[in-house]
């Protein structure tokens, strides 16, 4: 009886010790994670129809960031670093023995329980660190057989489905902004074609980058890296997405859009991907890749490349820089080790200057929109606050050049773009207005001619 009584408190104490350790270890992470969630939550109110896409993208990035955001001396253990874990367990043991030595009332049982405490603490610590199911599975040898039920998930990750969704939404924004009556079938065909082309491009990109992806934290869980599918299947998937996608665009929409789509795939897979390892100019090429989808949307609607298309492309081109430069600021170690030539590593000053420059360019481009008759003059006025805000964050990033300013700029860019496009859409110059104007001009011209002639 007394032994039972004596046994129970140590176990409870063990529980307390473990809780204390877990708390101490994860103290750093929740603060940052909560902060990120709070930021994401604030933004949820302002999200519109790009809503759930952004949230998924942001929370996925949150997860990735919180994985990486830990300072080097953090107590939380990454399951992939075994030496660190051994270190961690040693620390765990050190922490337990001084505490348990204080509680002398249970001398003999305490020795036995000390061992049990250590074991249970180590166990729970180990299981606490493998909170996500993935790391546990990752440690085992897996059969390289294709499982059909996993295939949709694998293809989704291969085609970077969330990024593809973003690309399709920018293309549909381009379509919506075109000054023509809305054609639903054309819109759907264009969106589908763009989505398929984007899937193909992303798959080829992953096919090329297997060993590099395995070495970077952000990308090490991709399907080809984990051997879930063979490279052959990835290429076949890319071909079976790309060919129908481009064919759909060329035949179902118009040849110009198809050509732009094919060109974009080529630019992304054959120019941007290899260039990432050769020169920092890859960022500019990548910005063009990001700028082409809205141009495609516009040409799908109108069939021609007007100033409006180029302006939309220009806005997206400028947006890419604060977005990507801020993102790459936190990945410098991985880029350096992986051999990627990025501005943030080799020319940090340029990196920040370019980001700021393009934030300011966004203001200029927004002012250009009404001049080109795409939107009314309310657009630059309404968009000025958000453009000024991102420019302010760009300036802070330029001046401070630290992790927090880069993160702020990145997260701002995530909601800034959909808001800007939405405001642009609401300020779109209505087609009827323009028709009326041309009618009036036609009439007055006719009158003038009538007066001129005797």
């Amino acid at each position: 009886m007394s032994a039972a009584r004596r046994c129970r408190p140590p176990r409870a104490l063990a529980g307390l010790f473990v809780w204390h350790l877990k708390g101490a270890g994860t103290r750093h992470i929740p603060c940052q994670f909560v902060h990120l969630c709070r930021v994401a939550n604030d933004r949820l109110i302002t999200f519109q129809y790009f809503n759930f896409l952004k949230r998924m993208y942001v929370t996925q990035y949150n997860k990735d960031l919180s994985q990486r955001a830990k300072p080097k001396s953090d107590l939380v253990v990454s399951p992939f670093h075994e030496p660190q874990q051994l270190d961690q367990e040693k620390k765990v043991i050190h922490k337990i023995s001084p505490i348990s030595s204080v509680h002398q009332p249970w001398p003999e049982t305490s020795r036995r329980n000390e061992l049990r405490e250590v074991k249970s603490a180590a166990e729970t610590e180990a299981s606490a660190t493998s909170v996500r199911a993935e790391p546990k599975e990752d440690r085992q040898w897996k059969e390289m057989k294709l499982r059909l039920d996993e295939l949709p998930g694998i293809f989704a990750r291969l085609s970077k489905i969330k990024l593809t969704a973003l690309v399709v939404s920018t293309a549909s924004a381009g379509f919506a902004m075109a000054p023509v009556p809305f054609d639903l079938t054309c819109f759907l065909l264009a969106s589908l074609g763009t989505g398929l082309a984007s899937c193909a491009a992303n798959s080829i990109n992953q096919f090329f980058e297997v060993p590099f992806d395995s070495n970077m934290n952000r990308t090490k869980n991709r399907p080809l890296v984990r051997g879930q599918i063979s490279p052959l299947l990835a290429v076949c998937f890319a071909a079976s997405c790309g060919v129908p996608g481009i064919a759909l665009l060329t035949l179902g929409v118009n040849p110009l859009t198809g050509a732009l789509g094919a060109f974009n795939i080529f630019l992304y897979t054959c120019c941007y991907t290899p260039m990432k390892r050769m020169s920092i100019a890859n960022t500019w090429v990548g910005a063009v890749v990001g700028a082409i989808p809205p141009v495609m949307g516009w040409t799908a609607a109108t069939g021609s490349l007007d100033a409006g298309a180029l302006l939309l492309g220009g806005i997206l081109y400028s947006w890419q820089f604060p977005h990507f430069n801020a993102l790459s600021w936190g990945l410098r170690e991985d880029y350096s080790r992986g051999g990627y030539c990025m501005m943030s590593v080799t020319h940090p000053g340029l990196c920040r200057r370019v980001a700021l420059r393009h934030c300011l360019a966004l203001i200029g481009l927004s002012a250009l929109a009404p001049a080109l008759d795409i939107t009314t003059w309310t657009f630059p006025v309404v968009s000025l606050p958000i453009n000024l805000y991102i420019s302010y964050l760009g300036f802070r990033f330029y001046r401070d050049a630290d992790r927090s300013s880069s993160r702020k700029l990145f997260f701002c860019s995530l909601w800034h773009l959909p808001m800007l496009l939405l405001v642009m859409f609401t300020c779109k110059k209505s087609v009827l207005e323009k028709e009326d104007k041309t009618e009036l001009l036609g009439e007055s011209h006719g009158r003038a001619v009538g007066i001129g002639l005797p």
Binding site: P71, K72, S73, F80, E82, D138, R139, Q140, W141, K142, E143, M144, K145, F207, F208, V210, P211, S214, N215, K220, V225, R226, G227, S230, P231, L232, V235, P274, R277, M278, R332, E333, Y335, S336, R337, G339, Y340, C341, V345, T346, P348, A401, D402, R403
Partner: protein, 146 residues
């Protein structure tokens, strides 16, 4: 992997190279084409493993040296009072990252060329093997039907 298994097995990421090792299954009726494919994959795996293990080890070592030299310049010790390793913040490490990247540029260019070549060869061989297998299966089906 179990002895009776007829497929390849892939394991957890290697400690040094972060690449996942693959154990290839050698079927008894392996054709010359399939053998070429398997050997190409094994060779690529070995070469990748060697490159990245060496590269990552060099990175870790040079990083340690850099931190040590910087800390010494600042007059600090490698470990502080609590026994944890002292580290530099991201801005101070930036110089090291830039340096490391430019030092290893040519090595990476060479590796890129090799990797792309190997990747294409292996994928092309996989295509050939898949085609050969499909033809074999069709021929077998036709024989069974007759």
């Amino acid at each position: 992997p179990p002895a009776h298994s007829r497929s390849d097995w892939i394991g957890p990421p290697d400690k040094h190279s972060n690449l996942r090792p693959v154990i290839f299954h050698v079927p008894p009726e392996e054709s010359p084409l399939e053998r070429r494919l398997r050997e190409a994959r094994q060779e690529a795996q070995a070469s990748n493993q060697q490159f990245w293990a060496r590269h990552n080890r060099a990175f870790r070592q040079e990083k340690e040296e850099f931190i040590y030299s910087r800390l010494k310049a600042k007059g600090l010790e490698m470990r502080d009072e609590t026994g944890q390793k002292a580290t530099l913040n991201a801005e101070e490490m930036a110089d090291f990252y830039k340096d490391f990247l430019s030092k290893n540029f040519r090595k990476h260019m060479q590796y890129n060329r090799d990797w792309y070549k190997r990747n294409f060869t292996i994928t092309f061989l996989m295509g050939q093997v898949a085609l050969a297998r499909a033809l074999r299966w069709l021929r077998w089906k036709k024989k069974n039907v007759e």
